[in-house]
């Protein structure tokens, strides 16, 4: 099929952020980071329950050894990124700006491995349940965003039927190129992982959605995709193409109801990184202890994509890139649209850290708290079709009830509105505040009703 004549899928709303950021790193092959002396592995990575730490200070650990055991449904196993000694359970600056607990591992430099799992090369003839257990044993989480345990996402609630698996290779965030390089450099791991997920769920309709600015990755995946029976879907370059609801809408033209999950419309969405890690866990039997991270920003000397072990402090990632050439004013973990600003260089890389970005003062968005001029750009840009400016004005005026009536809870916090706002109003922050407040009110009302 001729590529240029192919139909390119997309959704309504959204924005077109500057594309210059990707060019910094998308041609850089992934480097493997050298071994460090110290790793701090965050105990709690997601909003769920923290896993139970099973090592004590002073314990000797080997690479891939289990450090913390998942406890509860929304919780994932942690494995040691290298061999060495557990120096303690310490408080380190967390990615959310508040100190968080981490397991401090002093590497012995030998990087000795254990073999925690048996490789399952013939997974096609294996019981999906066994594979599902492997998914949770290997500590797999969603590597795109919220670090939600993959096991949970692959456990379809009873009564719901899924028939489509969508792999998210859109990587719509500016600057990030980790998934791009992953797809380009190891397409077979991604495809194999997708096929395994398909096998677990009993699905044979598998799509991989990729934005067309990654045409080399599309071509590379298409070389092998026939063998796996997977369809590659080129997508319009548009932010937030990688958001679950928008991706499903673009690829299979189904609309996830408000407050609903992809499973409500028979879909499961996984990140390509997760699929690759899953392939490793099943076919090679190794848990998730490292990931590709884009370390980028104009102020960096050599921006690039690095394969970093979980627990690497970001200062080391910056060092790998040769340091800075100019004063950075902002350090961001994740993408520039949805990532979190940090005020410490000691924050460790977690399983969901897709990027480490350093922005200069000129590049970073400087918020102002002026009035809305009602230009309506945020309304055009909102992928969820919300009147963001009216919501924000209402929230600032203390009318959270008004915002709730106007569906503030449907906000994805994708940042499209604040990106286009000519007044540089902190729209996402305001909306997030209202969402938190409404959630609190609802929880209080529920608690009251139960009482």
């Amino acid at each position: 099929m001729n590529k240029s004549s192919r139909k390119v899928m997309s959704f309504t709303g959204g924005i077109h952020p500057v594309s210059a950021g990707k060019k910094l790193t998308n041609t850089q092959a992934v480097h493997t980071a050298p071994l460090l002396e110290r790793y701090t592995v965050l105990v709690q990575e997601n909003a769920g329950k923290a896993p139970e730490v099973i090592v004590k200070p002073g314990d000797k650990v080997l690479k891939y050894q289990l450090l913390a055991q998942a406890s509860g449904f929304v919780s994932a196993n942690l494995h040691s990124p290298t061999s060495g000694e557990v120096a303690g359970i310490v408080e380190v600056p967390g990615p959310m700006g508040v100190p968080a607990l981490a397991i401090d591992i002093r590497a012995d430099g030998e990087d000795r491995e254990t073999d925690p799992f048996e490789p399952i090369p013939d997974w096609r003839s294996t019981d999906p349940k066994v594979l599902l257990d492997r998914v949770s044993d290997a500590g797999l989480v969603g590597m795109g965003g919220a670090s939600f345990p993959t096991r949970v996402k692959l456990s379809i609630p009873p009564g719901k039927k899924v028939d489509t698996l969508i792999l998210n290779g859109a990587e719509c965030e500016p600057y990030l190129s980790a998934d791009h390089r992953l797809m380009l450099e190891s397409p077979c791991r991604v495809l194999e992982g997708a096929a395994i997920i398909g096998h677990i769920l009993g699905i044979d309709k598998i799509y991989i959605g990729i934005e067309i600015n990654k045409h080399d990755a599309i071509a590379e995946l298409e070389r092998f995709s026939e063998d796996y029976g997977i369809k590659i879907v080129p997508l319009q370059v548009q932010y937030p193409q990688g958001s679950e609801k928008q991706l499903i809408h673009a690829i299979v033209n189904r609309i996830v109801p408000p407050g609903g999950l992809p499973a409500d419309v028979g879909c499961v969405v996984q990140n390509v990184g997760t699929a690759a890690a899953l392939s490793d866990a099943v076919t090679l039997g190794i848990p998730l202890v490292e990931r590709i991270v884009t370390v980028s920003g104009k102020v960096l000397k050599d921006p690039g994509n690095w394969k970093l072990r979980i627990g690497t402090p970001v200062i080391k990632a910056i060092e790998f890139c040769g340091g800075v050439t100019d004063e950075p004013s902002k350090l961001i973990l994740g993408g520039p649209m949805m990532g979190f600003a940090q005020n410490s260089y000691e924050v460790p890389v977690a399983k969901n850290t897709s990027g480490v970005l350093l922005f200069s003062r000129r590049r970073a968005l400087n918020y102002r708290s002026g009035s809305c001029i009602r230009c309506g750009r945020c309304v055009q840009g909102c992928p969820m079709g919300l009147c963001t400016c009216l919501l924000a004005t209402a929230i600032e005026g203390g009318r959270i009830d008004l915002a709730e009536q106007n569906h503030v809870m449907d906000c994805l916090e994708c940042g499209s509105c604040a990106y286009v706002c000519p007044a540089h109003r902190p729209l996402v922050q305001t909306l997030r505040l209202a969402k938190a407040e409404i959630r609190r009110q609802r929880a209080a009302a529920k608690a009251k009703a139960e009482k």
Partner: protein
Amino acid sequence: MKYLELTVGAVLVYNFVLSRFLGICPFLGVSKRVSTAMGMSGAVVFVMTLASAITAAIYRYLLHFSLGGVSYDLGFLQVLLFILVIAALVQIIETVLQKLSPSLYQALGIYLPLITTNCAVLGVATLNAKANYSVLDATIFGCFSGIGFALAILLFSSLREKLELATPPKAFEGTPIALVTAGILAMAFCGFAGLC
């Protein structure tokens, strides 16, 4: 054509609030929320229509009549009787409303009794008498005057809900800004002058 003039005139050109400046008290008092403003304007439309009909009938048949060949003119009783009728009417509406829609009754609060002495209602009755409308004309005029009030208060209350979210200087918060807004609104209504 006559009715068109009567209605358009009452709603737009000689809008009770914005061009005759009658009924300002509820216009300012009950316009903080669109919902209560709608309730209030519903009550005002009802009272004005009914009051117009009854007072026109009284004016025509009770204040000017001839008995045994002698024609009597009780015009001097006009204001007195009008107030009496309107007061009774409002009392009845209040009683009914309290039973049927307690929330609206709560929202209207003191303003419902205030309709009694509302210049808009008395005004419509007096204007009817002055123009010597027939009962039908007076009823239509009263009804559409009420609708004019409703239009004005609807626009005004939606603006005020919006202004509530604005950040005016401290000195102009609340009533001052509302009055300025009402003034500009009245200015916009000036454009309709001469439509009929």
